[in-house]
């Protein structure tokens, strides 16, 4: 790889060298061109000077040729300049091409380098991959070996542990065996020791027994001597006792004699006082007599004093009564004046209470009468209302009847009209017939028929007129009758209806006063936001608020009763209330505890007191039923012996009869009936029972 590269690089270098040499040649050409330019310019400038000198002398022809020459020179200079430029550009181009080639060469170099590097890397990669694979294989094999070895290890350990355990067991067994052996050895040694000791003790004890027997003999002898001494002592003691007794008697006699001496002395002194005493006795007797007299006077005076005192009390009472009487009198006079004023104020002409009572009775009677009138009026009103309703019905009926009669009348009128029409028709017919007859009369000659016909016609007309008159009369009379009845009926109805009308008007007035209205014509309006509805709403809201409060308080109470764990809602008021409930519960518990303690203390005290009473007085007092007390004595012979006392309504205690009290009849009579003292009776019973106990 390296070798071909060197050849190519060498070739490139050669090319570059050739180009640089050509470039140098060009450069030389250029320098030659530049030097020629310089020489040309210098040539132009030199002749200019002389040309200038010559110009002034030459004339205008020389100027033109100079100008032409200058122009030609300028054009030549321009050409040279352009050639120069062209050569410069060529140089530049060649330089650029050179640089291009250099760059290309360098790039190719770099590319080949990198390609070579890449091939290196790839080879290295492949090598590494091969190594990795080999290493992985080794690893797996090593892992397998490791696991196999670990298993072998575990097995070996297990075997070791088993063997160790067996070893330990055997060691333990060995130890135990050793221990038993040692203990047995020790025991055997000890037994041997004991045997030896016991032999020694036996020998010692035999020696001791012998000694003791000798001592015993000695003691017996001593005992005999001592018993003899005792007997001597007893004889001496008895004699001593006798002597002591004699001494005591003598001492007593001495004391008595001394007492007698003292008595004798006092008697002597007293005897010396006797005459004085006699004098005193006399004086005292005189005083006594005087005092007795005075006592009598005293008693008399006391009686007088008592009498006077009673009089005084009576007089004081009478005075009080007098004062009361005067007050009452004043009051009565006031009342009397008031009563008299009443007569003046009411103007009823009352001078005595009889008048007042009379007036009152009159008023009451008037009141009763008015009340009766009131009730009567009420009942009348009710009856009137009833009758009014009935009358209304009647009115309706009557209206219906009138309607019917009107209809009847209308029908009658219609009939009349019809009849009148008929009459008209008949008259017309008659006229027609008359005309016909007249025509017949006119046509026919006056024959015998016409007077007969005329007569007949006249008769017929008369009959007709009579009938008509009769008809008319009948109608008139009929109508008169009809009308009269109708008028009477209608008059009666009218009156009734007038009364009903009045009553209805009154009722209507009453209803109007009460506020009735005709819903067809009237409607009742009120303002929507009126004070009543506003007040009702406020009341409703208050009621609702109160009901909510009640519910809340009930919940609180339930919770307090139940134990308070439920009422933990999230309001401040309920927190406060739960605090309250806790406080209350604490208070309740503390008070209960106090109660309990008080009860215990009280019980203890009362039991103590009862025990002390029993001990001090000798009676146990039990409350059996209401107001009945059972007393049991401490010295009672039987368990059931007891006295029963009952507290009366006035507070005194009375003894009730029991089996035991029957046996104490004498004491009851003496102490309760005669002396009227229950404590004395009870103490007598105690003494009696005590004496019975001690003597029995």
């Amino acid at each position: 790889m390296d070798i071909p590269f060197d050849i190519s690089s060498y070739l490139c270098y050669q090319e570059v060298a050739a180009e640089t040499s050509s470039f140098k040649m060009d450069l030389d050409d250029d320098t030659a061109v530049i030097t020629t330019l310089k020489s040309f310019n210098s040539f132009i400038n030199r002749p200019e000077l002389p040309q200038r000198l010559s110009e002034s002398s030459a004339g205008s022809g020389n100027l033109q040729s100079q100008y032409k020459r200058r122009m030609e020179l300028l054009e030549a200079a321009e050409k040279v300049q352009s050639k120069n430029r062209y050569l410069q550009l060529d140089l530049e181009k060649k330089q650029i091409e050179m640089s291009h080639k250099k760059a290309r060469f360098e790039l190719e170099k770099m590319a080949s380098d990198s390609a070579r590097d890449l091939e290196h890397q790839v080879d290295q990669n492949q090598e590494l991959l091969g190594r990795i694979k080999r290493l992985e294989n080794k690893e797996t094999e090593a892992a397998k070996n490791l696991s196999e070895q670990e298993e072998a290890n575990r097995n070996l350990r297990k075997n070791l542990e088993g063997l160790q355990k067996k070893l330990e067991e055997r060691d333990a067994k060995l130890n135990a065996a050793n221990q038993t052996i040692s203990s047995l050895k020790d025991e055997s040694r000890e037994l041997m020791m004991k045997i030896r000791n016991q032999d020694s003790t036996i020998s010692a004890q035999t020696l001791e027994t012998q000694e003791l027997q000798e001592q015993l003999d000695l003691q017996r002898r001593k005992y005999h001597e001592v018993s003899q001494l005792c007997q001597n002592l007893q004889a001496a003691e008895s004699s001593c006792a006798d002597h002591l007794f004699k001494i005591k008697e003598l001492e007593r006699r001495l004391v008595l004699q001394e007492q007698d001496i003292a008595i004798v002395k006092t008697v002597k002194s007293e005897v010396a006082k006797v005459p004085d005493l006699e004098k005193e006795v006399k004086l005292l007797r005189d005083d006594n007599a005087f005092l007795r007299e005075s006592r009598e006077n005293c008693s008399l005076l006391k009686e007088e004093v008592e009498g006077l005192r009673r009089k005084l009390e009576r007089m004081e009472k009478i005075k009080e009564e007098l004062i009361n009487m005067e007050l009452e009198k004043e009051r009565v006079t006031e009342k009397l004046q008031a009563w008299e004023n009443v007569s003046q104020s009411t103007g009823f002409n009352i001078r005595k209470p009889e008048d007042l009572s009379r007036e009152v009775i009159q008023i009451q009677q008037k009141e009763i009468a008015l009340k009766e009138q009131n009730y009567a009026l009420n009942s009348r009103v009710r009856s009137m209302e009833h009758s009014q309703s009935e009358l209304r019905l009647e009115l309706n009926q009557q209206r219906n009847k009138t309607m019917e009669e009107q209809k009847k009348r209308e029908t009658h009128d219609a009939l009349v009209r019809r009849l009148q029409k008929r009459v008209l028709l008949l008259t017309k017919e008659r006229d027609g017939m008359r005309a016909i007859l007249e025509s017949y009369d006119s046509e026919l000659a006056p024959t015998e028929y016409s007077p007969q016909l005329n007569k007949r016609v006249k008769e017929a007309e008369e009959v007709l007129q009579r009938v008509q008159n009769h008809n008319v009369e009948m109608e008139v009379s009929y109508m008169h009758l009809f009308h009269r009845q109708k008028i009477e009926d209608l008059e009666a109805e009218r009156q009734r209806l007038e009364e009903q009308n009045n009553i209805l008007e009154m009722r209507l007035e009453r209803h109007n006063l009460q506020g009735d209205y005709d819903p067809v014509k009237t409607r009742v309006l009120h303002f929507k936001m009126n004070p009543t509805s506003v007040a009702k709403q406020q009341r409703q809201q208050e009621v609702e608020a109160l009901e909510e409060e009640i519910k809340h308080l009930r919940e609180l109470v339930c919770s307090l009763q139940g134990g308070g764990a439920v009422a933990h809602s999230h309001d401040d008021s309920s927190l406060h209330s739960s605090n309250l409930s806790i406080n209350l519960r604490k208070q309740i518990e503390s008070s209960e505890l106090k109660n309990q303690r008080l009860k215990e203390v009280f019980q203890k005290k009362i039991q103590e007191f009862r025990r002390v009473c029993y001990v001090l007085t000798g009676y146990q007092i039990d409350l059996t039923t209401e107001n009945q007390y059972r007393l049991s004595s401490v010295f009672a012979e039987h368990m059931d012996d007891s006295l029963l006392f009952k507290k009366g309504s006035n507070g005194n205690m009375q003894l009730m009869e029991t089996e035991f009290s029957k046996t104490l009849g004498e004491m009851v009579a003496l102490h309760l009936h005669h002396q009227k003292s229950i404590p004395v009776f009870l103490s007598a019973v105690t003494l009696e029972l005590f004496s019975r106990q001690t003597s029995a």
């Binding site: 009453r510 109007n512 006063l513 009460q514 506020g515 009735d516 209205y517 819903p519 067809v520 014509k521 009237t522 409607r523 009742v524 309006l525 009120h526 303002f527 929507k528 936001m529 009126n530 004070p531 009543t532 509805s533 506003v534 007040a535 009702k536 009341r539």
Partner: protein, 200 residues
Amino acid sequence: MTSTLQGITLKGSSELVADFFSFGINSILYQRGIYPPETFSRVTHYDMSLHLTTDVKLKNYMNNVVAQLKEWLMECTVQKLVLVITCLETNEVLERWQFDIQCDKSAKENCAPREKSIKAIQDEIRSVIRQITATVTFLPLLDTPCAFDLLVYIDKDNDVPEKWEESGPRIIDQSEEVRLRSFTTSIHKVNSMVAYKKND
């Protein structure tokens, strides 16, 4: 309140009647103790001393009602004005002050004022109000909390204005009625009466 010096027109009569209702109702509220006496102030009207409420809500209510009443009086469609006093606890009507209004409809057609002096009308009104004050002596005591309401009986074919609604007549069960004085402006005649629940 006053219309022309010479006579009474429909408009003037309506204003007189509306004024009478305003003062009369205030007097009744004061006399019956529906509102506390300290909420009333004394004013002079109809040549006498009358009570007028100072409570703002009540004033507003009265102004609304009286204004509407004037309109109805001008149209001659109002038949009665009733002041109902209700017990709040039992919701029963205890008292009913009823004023019947009769309108001379011919005054609507011709606009000539009627001959009646305002002084005479005022005298009549004064006597009516005095009588109302005197009736309080025999009316039973209102010792429970009460509220009042104003009902208007108008012609059925009238439209119901905004803020007003239909109501029942609130008649007292078992009542005693007393008819009081009336007054007339020659166009409107107002009869007064009071009904109260009998105290058993």
